[in-house]
Symmetry: C2
Subunit: 423 residues, 2 copies
């Protein structure tokens, strides 16, 4: 008998019908002889509605109270799900993050899991129950305050519980059939990936693929927990994410796993920086002190005549204002002429472990972009990824061109998106 952790996002439990549908699927897994732990997000738009209420009473909701507010959403969905399962004649018990032993640090709104002590879950499973756990939430180490894990927190809860319970698999149910070779909304001929390695999945997540968050994949890789991403609507086999292909499946590692894109970043160019040691350090220390994460960095070739150079970097658009303010404030300390801010950029990334041993990949990538008439502004590479920055408008065409050039196109339009996006 195996132990399975299943996670259902908000779109899968958006209403009473959704909850009953999910309950049936959970009972199926139980009937197949598994011990079943279910992690559930808040119903549909609940979280957004709570955030809206918070903003109505206070322009700057405080961390501790904000977490207390938001975690109400999962208490509702988990209790309803447990009731729906009981109504199908199976025993179920719901547990808050705290009751499930999800111990975090005390950083409200984006706490990190530091330990999982699932004694009560284990106990409940041993009694033959299905255990339902609130996603996205934990309790601070001193056991006093409720915390939330931030964006994608429920996926992380699921993987962390799967690791602590030594589960055979962590099934992430969502509103698409799995991980695709490109965003199906952009590339109609995107193909569902049957299996992908943790490494490639990490690169895809870091490059804009939204099906799984980087943090969750990282956790799964660290504890070697296979993830099965699949649809709660269709019942089809989805995408396995693991170190090696699972079971008797002979899946060959593809040279290229997929094409990801991201239009959530902006580019800042620091113009007229003296070309001497320590200048770049001064700029990026300023940015780091403002607690802003940057992505790509490029330093232009210095113009010998002036002794000045330009430094460009990309960062989340949401951090743009803060970065500009921090740099302006430190202008005299750093020494630069001006700042340029550009939020009309997009990033296209090609990911695949195969590029390590296939030297032609980079050339083919640039040729595909060139043939599509797409101009490249920045380039950055890792061992298994090439990313370029282009105009935001060029992104859809660029993604399709690269997808076709690497033979990733499906014969059919197979991708279906079933609902909204859960948390």
């Amino acid at each position: 008998m195996g132990l399975v952790v299943q996670k259902y996002g908000g779109s899968s439990v958006a209403d009473a019908e959704g909850i009953k549908r999910v309950a049936k699927r959970i009972v199926e897994a139980k009937k197949n002889g598994n011990q079943v732990v279910v992690v559930v997000s808040a119903m549909g738009d609940t979280t957004d509605e709570l955030i809206d209420l918070a903003e109505q009473v206070s322009p700057m909701p405080a961390g501790r109270e904000f977490d207390m507010l938001l975690t109400a959403g999962e208490r509702i969905s988990m209790a309803l799900l447990a009731m729906a399962i009981k109504n199908l004649g199976h025993e179920a018990q719901s547990f808050t993050g705290s009751q499930a032993g999800v111990i975090t640090d005390s950083v409200h709104n984006k706490a990190r899991i530091i330990d999982v002590t699932p004694g009560r879950i284990r106990e409940s499973l041993d009694k033959g129950n299905i255990a339902i756990v609130a996603g996205f939430q934990g309790v601070s180490q001193d056991k006093k305050d409720i915390t939330t894990l931030g964006r994608g927190g429920s996926d992380t809860t699921a993987v962390a519980l799967a690791a602590a319970l030594d589960a055979e698999v962590c099934e992430i149910y969502t509103d698409v059939d799995g991980v695709f070779t490109a965003d199906p909304r952009v590339v109609k001929k995107a193909k569902k990936i049957d299996w992908i390695s943790f490494e490639d999945m990490l690169e895809l997540a870091a490059s804009g693929s939204k099906v799984l968050l980087h943090r969750c994949v990282e956790y799964a890789r660290r504890y070697n927990i296979p993830i099965h991403v699949r649809s709660s609507f269709s019942g089809l086999q989805g995408t396995w994410v693991s170190n090696e292909p699972i079971g008797d499946k002979k899946v060959e590692q593809a040279i290229i796993s997929g094409v990801a894109h991201d239009t959530s970043e902006a580019k800042i160019t620091v113009v007229g920086v003296p070309d001497k040691p320590g200048e770049a350090a001064a700029i990026f220390r300023t940015i780091a002190d403002a607690e802003i994460n940057i992505d790509m960095v490029v330093q232009n070739v210095s113009a010998a005549a002036t002794g000045l150079t330009d430094i460009s970097f990309t960062l989340p658009k949401t951090e743009g204002r803060k970065a500009i303010d921090a740099l302006e404030k430190n202008r005299s300390g750093i020494g630069f002429d001006s700042l340029r801010y550009d939020d009309q950029i997009g990033k296209i990334s090609l990911v695949g472990a195969g590029m390590k041993t296939n030297p032609g990949v980079t050339a083919s990538f640039f040729e595909a972009l060139s043939d599509a008439g797409v101009n490249i502004e920045l380039i950055s590479t890792s061992e298994i990824r090439i990313s370029v920055v282009t105009r935001a408008d060029d992104v859809p065409e660029a993604v399709r061109a690269v997808h076709t050039a690497f033979g990733l196109d499906s014969d059919t339009d197979e991708a279906v998106v079933y609902g909204g996006t859960g948390r």
Copy 2:
């Protein structure tokens, strides 16, 4: 500096505006030099909406999960209230029933408080914070499961915390200006009562007055916590409920405190019961075994010719079906001819400690009913209360007649109901 416990019902915090209004009132109390603990119910119709969702997924929601579900409502309101207070520049922290140390037995959906250990509340107050506590909920003695206190639970939470913290007063904010000499919706000339003893308030609550629940008043009397029932909308002085009039107020105990009525009961008559010892016991053992509480009981004078008698009793309408079923099932054991069920009855009660020393009260009460042409079906009395059962249709007229006869009418129509009814 005094310690004040304030309780706000669901109608007072029905929306963001209500929450902000209540926040201002709380901050006023704090500015007046008090330590302030606030107990809050779920917003407006939240609880009903959650119950509705539960019924959609399961016809018989289970106790533990149902409590987990319902307690989400107070988490939302308490977190929002804490945010709203912070936004006014004061420090506030919210606490679940569990965090506030509200320890209960394990009877889900109607748990009883068995201890209150408000260490964290005290700590928070000592730091200068306003403490916001979720009403209606606690944690089972083994600290494992969330429980709810049943109807009127938030009032009980407030009184229990006031007792544990040795508060000067427990202020119950509601949508009326206080306790009235009769239901203002029935008697336009009902007067607000300035002060009422615990004893009289207990009898009013037991007789159908809905402003304070019996259980909450009982708790307050046991620990001698003065209650101040008042409106969160008007800011007027309300009704004080205590052993003795508070402070320098010279309030004379009225002979009659008020007239209560109740149309939520039904009457069952067991017809043709053999008039011999043990018959009544057999009937009421049957009812008790079905866990039904009864109110009034009357046995008719036996007709000597037949050796048979009739026994009537009243009980909540909601228990009617269950009682009939239990009696029918045990018909041969008890021995009776037939059952009559009547849910068109009403109860009118006159309450006042003064009737102990004023022998004319009973006579005046019956005269008033007779003058109003109201027929009496059952009578029951305590030391400080007389209750009669009449036709339900006669109740409004009967209440007005009695109210006038005992000189309780106000010169003006002073009663205002501001909103819905909170939990």
